[in-house]
């Protein structure tokens, strides 16, 4: 029998899951629509059945554990709490519900912490004990590893860098406050920066022909690659704020590397080069040159399942 774990990524729209062996091979995967299950118990039943089916579909597999990345997940309690993008309200004891259906260890955390674990077990941080991963999508998620362990903190919710304030009195954030890191340093933050630059600058730009509701980080990166002045300026400013937050995080935990992941990171060297420059300008002298700014070493398409699986493998190791 070959041991595998199930890695599950619960998103607002889709839930994807796969069986992953110890070296990070995905042996089988599937998905279901999260929105088809407004009742959590029905969701758990469908998910458990689908995982059992995956295991039975292959010969000689033994399911050793389950790792789950989900919004507002509490590692200590195995719960999802007050997640704004999910239909299940209040505090959902997800790990407990799943264990009732499949009796193996079930570990729950948010997607950014799962990404950190994925990076450490299967990605670019295999030999690192201190690093940070920033997931730069619609928001900014962060997973922080110190002394080889993901930081969950007293509440189980640690590592919420996206809602640390980097511009006091700055942009409105979905959390109800102003100037949060993710309102600048994320794919949607880049879009907001372009809109601001369009208001401030007089240069011609292909981005003036795209309705704001259709602007994406990808389109902006494409324009920047063609030297569009607004796109170039917006990427540079985004890198500056991203680097400002990274420099302050370095003062906190002095990591060996910061990994960038997600839609904004897809801009590649156009983002990484100015980010490295601004980190170097902003960081305390004592930390100059001590931190690598790197793209994630986990392929974007498999990252969610691999991260969640890594969570389970890490727990089984203990």
């Amino acid at each position: 029998m070959k041991e595998v774990v199930a890695g599950i990524d619960i998103g607002g729209t889709n839930t994807v899951f796969g069986l992953v062996d110890k070296t990070g091979n995905i042996l089988a995967e599937n998905s279901l629509k999260t929105t088809d299950y407004p009742e959590i118990k029905n969701f758990v039943s469908a998910l458990a059945a689908a995982i059992n089916k995956l295991v039975e579909g292959k010969s000689n597999l033994k399911l050793a554990g389950i790792g789950i990345g989900a919004p507002n997940a509490n590692y200590h309690k195995g719960t999802i709490e007050l997640a704004p993008n999910l239909a299940w309200k209040g505090i959902v004891p997800l790990a407990e519900y799943i264990r009732k259906k499949i009796d193996v260890p079930v570990i729950v955390t948010n997607d950014a912490n799962a990404a950190a674990m994925g990076e450490m077990i299967f990605g670019g941080a295999k030999k690192m004990k201190d690093f940070i991963i920033l997931t730069l999508g619609t928001g900014l998620g962060s997973g922080i590893v110190i002394n080889g362990e993901v930081v969950y903190g007293h509440t189980g919710f640690a590592g919420e860098l996206g809602h640390t304030i980097v511009v006091p009195g700055g942009r409105d954030c979905g959390c109800g406050r102003q100037g949060c890191y993710e309102t600048y340093a994320s794919a949607s933050g880049l879009v907001r920066t372009v809109l601001y630059m369009l208001s401030e600058m007089r240069e011609e730009s292909s981005l003036r022909d795209i309705p704001p509701s259709e602007l994406t980080a990808k389109k902006i990166a494409e324009a920047a690659a063609k030297k569009d002045p607004i796109a170039v300026e917006a990427l540079d400013y985004t890198a500056e704020i991203l680097a400002f937050g990274i420099a302050n995080a370095i003062g906190f935990s002095s990591p060996e590397a910061v990994f960038l992941f997600g839609g904004l990171a897809q801009a590649g060297e156009m983002l990484f080069i100015p980010t490295r420059k601004y980190v170097d300008q902003n960081v305390q002298p004592i930390f100059k040159g001590t931190v690598k700014i790197l793209p994630s070493g986990v392929p974007e398409s498999n990252a969610a399942v691999l991260g969640a699986a890594a969570l389970a493998w890490n727990e089984l190791k203990k």
Copy 2:
């Protein structure tokens, strides 16, 4: 034979040291003038002799280890590196030098990390696994504990919150940058804030009669206790910036408590009450009400020796 450790605090002017038992009793102590020893080897010889003398002065003591708090100390390497306030230049292998004189485990870190260890072993954080201590003196030092361990990071210098930037483009800092946390949230930051308030506000104030070079946090706190309007306003603003940095730190590591220590913390409830209010206003909703803001549980007069001793006891436990 009763086991004790030596706790040593190396400052720019004085070095104080004491023998401390497992429960935090200081059995003997002494000091020497750091500035009397421009050569590190002479300093180490004098210090080792003085410690041996303390041990021999009591009957039945066995020295089990040595803990040292010192500026710019590197825990991983046992070194002091490029300390601006010490005469010993370059990289000083302090632990190694001391071990050659006294053959016991020697642990080195900066004073704020030692204070964190003191708080955990002998103070108010005995049952805590996740907390932060801020030492608010001439500068702002910070010791961060996560999962029951002081955070040293990849370089050994982690936990430098005093030089994270909280006001971009703000006050000049001794580190050569602008807007560092310690230029606002420290005893000397409070003095700077009073000078600013004296320029901005027209209210009468007893602080207008004190030459700026003689202003201290203590005098300002005394004036605030008498409702001096400038002193009150300055303490409130200091609490606001202090709280802003605390709120961001909470987003990072979600501690159970933040301890405040040092000259500025001596202002007591005049500082703690507004600080708690502003932390509550600034913190992410998910962390509201989860963090206690507390005075240090270690007496200020013994804190340096006890912190350094705690460092040694913690290492011997491993």
